[in-house]
Symmetry: C2
Subunit: 349 residues, 2 copies
Amino acid sequence: MMKSEKPNLSAIAHTLGVSVATVSNALSGKGRVSTELAERIRDTARSLGYVPSVAGRALRTGRTGVLGLVLPDIANPLFPQIAQAIEQAASSAGYGVLIGDSRGAVEQQTQAILRLIDRGVDGIIVIPRRGTRISDIGCPVAVIDTPATPGNTVASDHWGGGEEMGRHLRELGHERVLILGGSPLSNVQSDRIGGLRAGLGSSVRAEVLWLEQHAETHGADAPLGLAAMVKDGVTAFAGLSDLTAVRALTELQAAGIAVPEAASVTGFDDLIWSSVITPSLTTLRMDMAEIARQAVQALVAVIAGLPQGRVTALGTVVADSNSVPMMLMLRQSSGPRAVDNRNVEGDEA
Amino acid sequence: MMKSEKPNLSAIAHTLGVSVATVSNALSGKGRVSTELAERIRDTARSLGYVPSVAGRALRTGRTGVLGLVLPDIANPLFPQIAQAIEQAASSAGYGVLIGDSRGAVEQQTQAILRLIDRGVDGIIVIPRRGTRISDIGCPVAVIDTPATPGNTVASDHWGGGEEMGRHLRELGHERVLILGGSPLSNVQSDRIGGLRAGLGSSVRAEVLWLEQHAETHGADAPLGLAAMVKDGVTAFAGLSDLTAVRALTELQAAGIAVPEAASVTGFDDLIWSSVITPSLTTLRMDMAEIARQAVQALVAVIAGLPQGRVTALGTVVADSNSVPMMLMLRQSSGPRAVDNRNVEGDEA
DNA sequence: ATGCGTTGATTAATCGTTTAATCGATACTC
DNA sequence: GAGTATCGATTAAACGATTAATCAACGCAT
């Protein structure tokens, strides 16, 4: 059963009759060890099932090999994608990922960061709450927000994505578009709107409906009255997230308005259900794998003190490119503009 | 700027002219220290901003104060709820949470667990892949699956939830129900189906459509043909997750079948969009906060070697109660059975 | 006065790894 | 052949916290 206590460096050193330092050097490839002995050391290390003690190493080197991940609100439906990508990137860079939740309030974000630092993380990846700036904390930070945000490390090209979507809708012939946003405070949403407007061009009329504001005046889950807007001439609804897009889509369908025949609906983020609903949702997918890879790489470079590790004036790390293109997922919910919706049947709300 | 190096025990000891051991004793409250001196030590510790080194402590005590969290697939839309609840519970118990992703494959699950153990976690919380058993690994494990699963630590009462939902549908007068499941291998889904059948009673005809199987024969995102089933007399669709419920809901709507007037749709899990779609989705919410609390508590009890810490024959920790009730969220997508759907308009697919 | 128990503090060892300093021994240069 | 690199390995000192063992001092009963 070889239930022997976990093997450590001195166990290996002892079985081979050498010193622990030599073993350490051999395994890390740092000091000077004869290739032949190094080989034997690696062999016995493997056969003994040696795995270095993170605690011992951390104590000596001052680095834990752990990154912290802070999200505005862990309950965000985007979280799975993000967490998976970050974990994957960190793991293949030899790092673990400790999660920190800043559930809601802004000051909680700082709290979460401080807790992670107290736990000894080597660096932190923050997806900041809308409008928040990351003040100078005592460890390397990668910020994933918007290419336009000062101090941003790397992020999706929300503007470019919006532009592509806008162009798509314009080419379909839409002339009145309603943009459905959550809150004007979000950098991400501002970028997406800017891009949408640019892509739609000056000939297309685009208005914005802020859901947060709507919720305040009409109650939390009140209908948005989209059917009336269709009657009024709106033929496309561009949600700034798939969540609001699905909300719009179902509200239209429930009112008897066919999507995409009578009205188009588009979203952002390609959340998991976007492809399974009927009609499947035209949306923009973020390349989270690439974003995560870059963020982690930049962070690790600074942590390891590599020459390519660079830091902004705000103390955040900088990646190769701070903007990663989004990918338009053309699906069924967007189509050519309906010729005339004024006499469409729908209306229930 | 007091950029002094991080204060450690000896820094405190030095400023007060006492030994580090005394400081350690005072702060941990373990050894024998005069109350007056202990007070002074705590004061200076606070004023120096002392925070214990996790590495040092881990090396000495062998415990890191970190729990691992392993999920079947991090991309699961339930992940946010779970992660947030676990992080919260762990945090208030003084533990950090390290995430491990077993992205897909079953053997990856074991890999993820081993990686976490190598990182020195004190315990692991696993939400196992369907049908997977957790073999004896070298550290305390809490399993969140199904009350009926052998070795389960704590979980939602999926059966009871299903029963409640079944009763709800029966009371609405439905006589033919289609249950929409993903895969028959899932313990959770089996329980939910069992409960649904029990709640519906013997007078209600209930069939199951397995989406995974359907995808294999008809292609990944093929329509489920629900409109035809409505014509055939089915008046209620019970999704085993909100994801499939929304899929069903939109497919029905797109086919011109009014929900809940012509057909009811229900789900499980109360995922984030369930409340914002139209009609909002009747579903069952899990009490993840309570589940997480119990799992963490049980795990920590075993880790700390407390007398109330108990372990099953399979090596998993046991909680106070292994079953937490689900909560029926009555919303708009379920209603009384339509008298006759045979001549309903809908049909497009 | 001797012995004993208690209190309040210190000493010193230990956890496992890294790394600068050291030290033989061999090889090379002039 | 004496001085000097170079190579290959060892020694020993950290890193910061915990904890068993020890110790001085004091009170108190015999």
